[in-house]
Symmetry: none
Subunit: 132 residues, 2 copies
DNA sequence: TGTATTGTACTATTGTTATAGTACAAACAA
DNA sequence: TTGTTTGTACTATAACAATAGTACAATACA
């Protein structure tokens, strides 16, 4: 267990992006897990405190947390808080490769609709990784 | 005049991004103009054909075109079509980078929910590129 | 035991987005 | 001329997103 607070995380909301607030929150939590800023057992901000922080409605934060819980990414205990759970994804290597190819193809075609080349994307990803 | 068709352009819609369809279309057109894939006089797809292509409602495409016309970026002649006008579309590197970041984050969070690491994704992309 | 904190569950309201469907108007071509 | 293609305009509907407000339930702590 690592019931550490995750207060060092800085959430932010862009009201002009067109992306729903609750999805922006989900995205930021997913990204934080992906690059290890959030680990198993870490506690997320309370719905009320994050709502105050982002100047949005507590219901909106709760909606984000609920969706993450449905997907098994966090677990919540009423009266205690919401915590990162340890979701294990089980897949055989063939299936994994297939899925990676599929979502990568989708991503590349989307990126090219905006005029981004695969070189540009690789550079961008490398930069992201070097920033650790 | 350059009344060329702009059929080589591949538009795409991501229904899961949270970004409204009409805004996705607007952004893709703006970026195509900014990096000269679309030039003055080029004809955009008709509202009906693009709607069929993207499997969305013609009204949604029309909404995107209308907003672009309000901003002077395209001009429409009823019975003829919608064309790129000669208004400058500014897209500095910062803005472009921001957009690349957003769609990349989208992709990474999806990938990480399947258990893929950034490292793995970069390797996969490198393989794809070497295969050219 | 209280008391504060946490998540949950409603209702109601507002604005945006996307859809279906219909009809009309302007340009063009045969 | 007639018919096709183009964009436009409108109504109505449904779903979603975010808000305010209120109340309740479970936990932790002093």
């Amino acid at each position: 267990m690592a019931p550490k607070k995750a207060e060092e995380l800085q959430f932010s909301i862009d009201p002009n992006s067109g992306v729903p607030f609750y999805k922006q929150i989900i995205l930021q939590i997913e990204m934080a897990i992906a690059d290890r800023r959030l680990k198993r057992g870490n506690q997320l901000p309370t719905v009320r405190s994050l709502a105050v922080d982002l100047k949005i409605n507590p219901n909106t934060v709760a909606k984000a947390y609920n969706q993450l819980e449905l997907r098994g990414i966090v677990s919540t205990q009423q009266g205690t808080g919401t915590f990162i759970s340890d979701k294990e994804v089980e897949m055989d290597d063939v299936e994994r490769e297939k899925i990676l190819s599929q979502i990568t193809r989708d991503f590349l075609s989307k990126a090219s609709s905006y005029g981004f080349s695969i070189q540009e994307i690789i550079e961008h990803l490398n930069e992201l990784q070097d920033r650790e």
